[in-house]
């Protein structure tokens, strides 16, 4: 709408394809060349494909959004703009927990349970660390095989690299495309040790934190700020000889959360136990989430939170871009290290240094 002159017939990546397809003749051609000749759908075809729930089209559109090539990204943006009217009709759930807590097994079990109720499920991951994502659960679809092979599921690992804000940014856009493709439950996974949780918390309706009993807080590595975001804490691996410890941990967490003040007592998170491998406690967690979503929809908190989140993302993007532009200015880059050194040594006050740097732009 803000681009009335937008041409929906624009070809994304039009440099890669112009001739017609001659698949039968391509067997002996250099693979790179063959790839370049691959057919590229136009914006309208993408939008139609996504609307009809075509997972391949959805996947390709997300690739455009994640692309480092500005032309491809622009095409991705146009597809998203066309899809905006069909977004918003899902329940967005964030899931976090450190490696070892059993996230992949949990998502497999939890997702299967959700699919049994007839939902269509999309699983996205935000992992700002490229080295971690190589071994991450979602990078390795073989670990969520039931889900990966289910026709009503779409699984998408995080991009292998990129700035934190950038990754979360494209994840939010991917989420919107998934909604346009008719996925009505979206799980967004983070690894629970970084700063990506704030970004994810700002795009979901419900935030689930997975913990272990008796692992020691340092081992679990969960920052308290993350606990503060949680709508529900689930103590996983509550099975066999672990059951007693999990129940004890549940009570301890409940007490701790009661003692420590909350912004609002109404938002005090529940604590439940579950075993993803045995499938126990999973339906209780799902029921809790559903009930919470129903209640917040009745009180209109649901839509209010979404509006606030959209506004947050606009300002977040503005602030990030303003900083990027400033810090990437050649003269700023040139001088900032020197000022920083002087400030750290106490030779110049931080405010005077900032003033001098701002004079550059």
């Amino acid at each position: 709408m803000e681009n009335p002159d937008q041409n929906n017939k624009n070809k994304p990546g039009k440099d890669t394809s112009s001739s017609s397809q001659k698949d039968g003749l391509e067997t002996s051609i250099n693979p790179r060349y063959r790839r370049q000749k691959r057919y590229s759908p136009d914006i309208e075809e993408y939008v139609e494909g996504i609307s009809s729930g075509n997972r391949t089209m959805l996947s390709q559109a997300i690739t455009l959004i994640e692309n480092s090539n500005p032309d491809h990204r622009e095409s991705g943006q146009k597809i998203l703009e066309e899809c905006m009217g069909a977004t918003g009709n899902s329940l967005r759930i964030g899931i976090t927990g450190v490696p070892g807590v059993g996230k992949s097994t949990f998502i497999e079990s939890f997702g299967t349970h959700i699919l049994e109720e007839g939902h269509r499920l999309a699983v996205l991951a935000v992992d700002p660390s490229s080295s971690r994502s190589k071994g991450s659960i979602l990078g390795d679809k073989t670990r969520m095989q039931t889900l990966a092979n289910h026709p009503d599921t779409f699984i998408r690992p995080s991009p292998a690299s990129g700035a934190l804000g950038g990754v979360a940014h494209t994840t939010r856009e991917s989420m919107l495309l998934c909604e346009a493709a008719g996925f009505d439950i979206i799980l967004i996974e983070t690894i629970g040790v970084g700063q990506s949780e704030t970004a994810v918390h700002s795009m979901v309706d419900f935030f689930l934190l997975l913990m272990l009993a008796g692992a020691g807080d340092e081992l679990q590595g969960i920052k308290r700020g993350i606990m503060e975001m949680a709508d529900l804490i689930a103590i996983n691996k509550s099975d066999q000889e672990n059951i007693h410890a999990a129940k004890k941990a549940r009570i301890e967490y409940e007490n701790a959360l009661s003692i420590l003040a909350r912004d609002s007592p109404a938002r005090k998170p529940s604590v439940l136990t579950c075993s993803a491998t045995e499938g126990t406690g999973i339906s209780e967690i799902w029921n809790k989430i559903k009930r919470s979503a129903e209640q917040s929809k009745e009180s209109s908190r649901f839509s209010a939170r979404r509006s606030e989140q959209a506004s947050w993302w606009m300002h977040e993007t503005l602030n990030r871009q303003l900083k990027d532009r400033f810090y990437n200015h050649p003269e700023v880059r040139n001088k900032i290290k020197d000022f920083e050194r002087k400030v750290k040594r106490g030779e110049v006050s931080p405010f005077r240094a900032a003033e001098e740097l701002l004079k550059i732009i």
Copy 2:
């Protein structure tokens, strides 16, 4: 140093004074006119006065820094630049807690104890809410009369208004001037319910949180983010029939803090009890702070934290200024509400809206 052509003889507020003093003749003159003729020291006189510990000069220099008149602020900045070499030689302590926790009585008792050891004490306040500051403890010196009348103490209430960043910003500069004036213990008070705590935490060496036993967390209104910053939690009003409840609260808080994960186990805050009115527990708190400062000085964490803080303030100032400039741009102000409305309604994606707004500058 970054102003080699700086003229130390510049007159701050030179528009208000040029003729010589004729005090004897001024008794019948209009008070406003008499005020304009008041003698204004120059930068060098300010610096000399501050260096010699003159509290009136210190107070006037802080007024220049807080002033809304750019010329006065510039004079304040020049004084600060000249004083930078004499700053840093204090222990900076942040004290927070909601109204009713007994902050003024605590600071009176704690400050008196510190003075008995031969220190010179400055007490500054950050209170971003102008309505609150009218009734704030530091706005009302009569409530800290022992300190207010002590020759080795300097008490400075917060400015009555101003942006949050702005108030904290001038508080940090005031703190540096106090150090240059030889105050070796600086207490910085906040009211414990707003966002000013992050700013204060970023200017102190030690952060003390005052709490009450059994007041209920909602009543206390302390945000969990503030607890996370605390180096020490002191449960005040541990006297008479309250002693038992305070001891119980101490154990509860200790347990809660142990259960909830910390960024670093070494930074787990201690919990102590005290009674500011009876003077019990005060020396234990002071000893704890001194020991903590000694330990962090030995491990060089002390200076490392200060360097990081100075750098934080430089970037914080840069980011705040970049935002201020953008959001105050006439065309941005004109269009942003409209974009925000569309984004909240889901008509435009937050990223597209940000992109359009950024095109303005």
